[in-house]
């Protein structure tokens, strides 16, 4: 089966203001890269055109008052926070973005594709039930999860590898034991949440797993976390579907963050995620674009590598251009791995009360 690519030209339409980091340019180079690689003509891929999400799908996540606020503010423009204003027309663009996540989920559940990547904008993982934040308005991931659950899936795992903590997604599923939420993110950093002690509440205790990592963290730490935490917990959870909040801002060329993942590192993460999906839930995996601001640097290469992994293509040459690697030593912190191992040790103590695989 093929890999779905959810895309709409209107995903380039959203712009808070021309110089905002979360701007259309983010996708322009990626689309150039995919076009030049001939991705859209390859039999391994299916291009899926999304529709706006239904209001009922949105209201399964967000409060009606908040949605009304977004709709009204979108007429003449509005304000949420210093990073997140509401440009005119935002409401329709946000619905289409969330609709991209839904379209990806439907394509997978309908077995039109094995897995899917929604290249939707604006992103969503900082948006909570009743608020937007951090460039996000509607929580695309949460809309997807509630949608696939409505369609019959019982348990969904979310791996949020965006460099920022997915605080909105965490808030929405915090008490929920049917949704397993992992977030690997730079800490301390925006939004300031995402410590290891934030682990869920009530029935959901132990189902929110935060893995804060220091600046300069690179491939070996992410692989370590996957092996030590993500894989064993997901196996025990046994989800019906694996989803990825795929923010590519942990790349070493990203101008907003100080992490040091490489394109190879991202490819490895997606390989591992796909392998887990194959092992546990018939390959059902849905990735949704979140952040990633190295628009003219690593972003097109990481996005391509992720897609290539999902489709089972040869990724041996999906690397960062050698010309970019001179920036890597300045970004990479060799001591970060020790820090991550220490954090993992502490995290395991917290998780061991919920997960037998973590002892």
């Amino acid at each position: 089966m093929r890999t779905g690519i959810v895309y709409h030209d209107r995903y380039l339409a959203h712009e808070q203001y021309p110089s905002h980091p979360e701007r259309r340019e983010r996708l322009s180079y990626t689309m150039d890269q995919l076009e030049e690689e001939g991705i859209f003509e390859k039999e391994e891929f299916l291009l899926i055109t999304p529709k706006p999400a239904s209001i009922s799908d949105i209201l399964a996540v967000h409060e009606e008052d908040y949605l009304t606020f977004l709709e009204r503010s979108s007429v003449v423009g509005g304000y949420i926070d210093a990073d997140t204003n509401i440009p005119p027309g935002l409401y329709q663009n946000a619905l289409l973005s969330a609709g991209g996540a839904v379209a990806a989920g439907d394509a997978v559940l309908d077995k039109k594709v094995r897995n899917a990547f929604a290249f939707c904008r604006p992103p969503g993982h900082h948006a909570g039930k009743r608020n937007g934040a951090g460039f996000c308005y509607l929580n695309n991931m949460a809309v997807l999860v509630q949608h696939v659950k409505k369609r019959g899936l019982k348990r969904v795992a979310i791996i949020d590898w965006d460099a920022h903590h997915g605080n909105g997604t965490q808030e929405i599923f915090y008490p929920d034991s049917t949704v397993l939420f992992f977030s690997v993110h730079q800490y301390p950093f925006y939004p300031g949440t995402g410590g290891i002690n934030e682990s869920g509440t009530g029935a959901g205790r132990g189902y929110t797993i935060n893995m804060p990592v220091p600046a300069g963290t690179s491939d070996e730490s992410y692989e370590y976390l996957f092996t030590e935490i993500i894989a064993p917990v997901i196996r025990e959870f046994s989800p019906d579907c694996v989803t990825i909040s795929a923010g590519q801002d942990a790349h070493f060329t990203d101008p907003l963050i100080s992490l040091a993942l490489t394109t190879k590192g991202y490819a490895t993460l997606m390989h591992k995620a796909c392998a887990l999906a194959d092992e546990l839930c018939k390959g059902r995996l849905i990735a949704i674009l979140e952040g990633g601001y190295s628009v003219c640097g690593g972003l097109p290469y990481t996005n391509l590598a992720i897609l290539a992994c999902m489709a089972g293509l040869d990724t041996s040459h999906c690397t960062d251009p050698q010309a970019y690697m001179s920036a890597f030593p300045d970004r990479y912190n060799p001591r970060s791995f020790d820090h991550v191992r220490g954090m993992t040790h502490d995290l395991k103590k917290i998780l061991s009360s919920t997960w037998n695989n973590i002892r």
Binding site: R23, R24, Y29, E36, E37, G38, D320, P321
Partner: protein, 484 residues
């Protein structure tokens, strides 16, 4: 107009049609022979000559192909066969240079008749492809080397496919050009989208000539009766169905072995039966020379028409077919064509080709559709070639941050004014200048359409420090204002 008339020549597998249009339409049909000399030597020397042919491409598809060596420069990302090192980024930066020794070793150890060179993002910076071509010149003549950047569009796999075909065909086109030039120094080819292309452009991108015969048959049909519909062009080996809408053959992606090439050509459904299709004892999708009516050995569909009394073409004395076999063959043909009509464009059927007056009425009756047979239906393809106008496309890429302006992958002097409107205006003028240089009339240059457009600002540290613009402009194909 060059001279005082329009001349169209369509070189088919069986016949070559010649049309001269001044105030009237004069047609001539000659058997196609390996050399064009007998045809061209007797032709009028003045006037604008346009040549359409499917023979070159047919040879490429079914004949003995030239061997093509292929070099790719994929850089980071998905890899490609025959890769050498080197990389260009999406903004045209050289991320890694080629290794000349590696390239030369590859060329030396992979001898072939011709060479195709395709680099990733070469349409954003052709320099690595040009370096490879420079090395290859030690081993190949220019007419045997095809680079990909001049194609202008993004999509490396499609450019690889097209460039390989171009490498195989370039020399053939050059030979054809030399043959025609002996008698007519200035002439055009018809491309697969029914527009005229100069010899230089045909040589650069010979695959663009693919489908030129059906394209001209459709354009020539429209020129004669000015009606949209479905052209049924019945040739010796095939019957081609070509839809016409808004006065032009409908274009779609040009496929090679079922895969896209990045270029457009007329939408053409080809049915493997024509007037020379063998009947032995049933209608076969193959041709072995002419029908018996024209001196061939084997009975063919044309002979079936004679036996059934529908036509009396050529020599009707020795058809070599029983009436029953002829009727069965004819019925097979009609059923096959009519089954393809079910999903075709609505509107009348328009006959083209020598057998159109005999077969199209039967097809129309069977499929319950109206039909037209233009007065010169048997020469519609050559008429289409004669009346076609010069068509050109310009892929424009501007990056103000890198001070790059590319037309069809070739760097241009960086302009002073770089706002969107100025760039479109400059590119439009350049397109019209190029068309005029090729001989297009002022009227034919007037219409320029924007096929694609996208532009965005490059933001660095919260301010816009560059703008990137991509667009495709085209003088579309159509009937020349010089056609009476």
């Amino acid at each position: 107009m060059t001279g005082n008339c329009l001349i169209g020549v369509d070189i088919g597998g069986t016949n070559t049609d010649i049309v001269i249009i001044n105030d009237d339409i004069h047609t001539q049909k000659l058997p196609t022979v390996p050399s064009l000399d007998p045809i061209l030597s007797g032709m009028k020397k003045t006037g604008r000559l346009a040549v359409s042919t499917s023979c070159l491409l047919n040879q490429f598809l079914i004949g003995k192909r030239k061997t093509v060596a292929c070099i790719t420069i994929p850089g980071p990302g998905l890899t490609a066969d025959h890769a050498v090192c080197g990389a260009i980024g999406h903004r045209g930066d050289i991320l890694k240079d080629i290794n000349p020794t590696e390239v030369e070793d590859y060329i030396r150890t992979h001898p072939a008749d011709s060479l195709a060179v395709t680099g990733k993002f070469s349409v954003r910076n052709p320099c690595l492809e040009e370096k490879v071509v420079a090395i290859a010149r030690k081993y190949y003549t220019d007419s045997c080397i095809a680079p990909s950047h001049t194609l202008g569009y993004l999509n490396m796999p499609e450019r690889i496919r097209t460039t390989k075909a171009n490498a195989a065909l370039k020399e053939e086109v050059a030979v054809l050009i030399r043959q025609v030039e002996k008698y007519h120094s200035h002439f055009y080819f018809v491309s697969g989208n029914a527009g005229l292309v100069s010899k230089t452009r045909a040589c650069e991108n010979p695959l663009s000539l693919f489908h030129s015969s059906p394209a001209t048959a459709a354009l020539g049909s429209y020129y004669q009766i000015r009606r949209n519909g479905l052209v049924i062009d019945i040739g010796g080996s095939t019957t081609d169905l070509v839809p016409i809408a808004d006065g032009l053959p409908v274009n779609g992606p040009l496929l090679l072995s079922g895969k896209k090439t990045g270029m457009d050509a007329v939408v053409c459904e080809s049915i493997p039966y024509g007037g020379d299709s063998r009947v032995s004892p049933v209608l076969m999708p193959e041709r072995e020379g002419n029908a018996r009516a024209f001196g061939g050995k084997n009975p063919a569909l044309t002979d079936a028409l004679n036996v059934t009394g529908i036509a009396a073409i050529g020599n009707t004395d020795f058809p070599g077919l029983s009436r029953e076999a002829a009727e069965t063959a004819l019925q097979t043909y009609l059923e096959c064509v009519c089954s393809r009509l079910k999903n075709s464009i609505q509107g009348p059927l328009i006959g083209a080709g020598y057998l159109a007056p005999y077969l199209v009425p039967l097809i129309a009756k069977e499929s319950r559709r109206r039909y037209y047979i233009p007065e010169h239906a048997s020469s519609s393809n050559a008429i289409g070639a004669a009346v076609s106008r010069i068509s050109l496309s310009l892929h424009v890429h501007l990056d103000t941050g890198k001070e790059i302006l590319l037309y069809n992958g070739i760097p241009q002097p960086f302009p002073h004014d770089t706002d969107d409107e100025s760039i479109i205006s400059i590119a439009k003028e350049e397109l019209q200048r190029r068309a005029a240089r090729e001989g297009a009339s002022q009227e034919d240059c007037r219409q320029v359409i924007t096929e694609q457009f996208s532009a965005f600002d490059v933001i660095t540290y919260y301010s816009a420090d560059a703008r990137i613009l991509d667009c495709v402009l085209q003088i579309p194909p159509g009937i020349s204002s010089e056609a009476p």
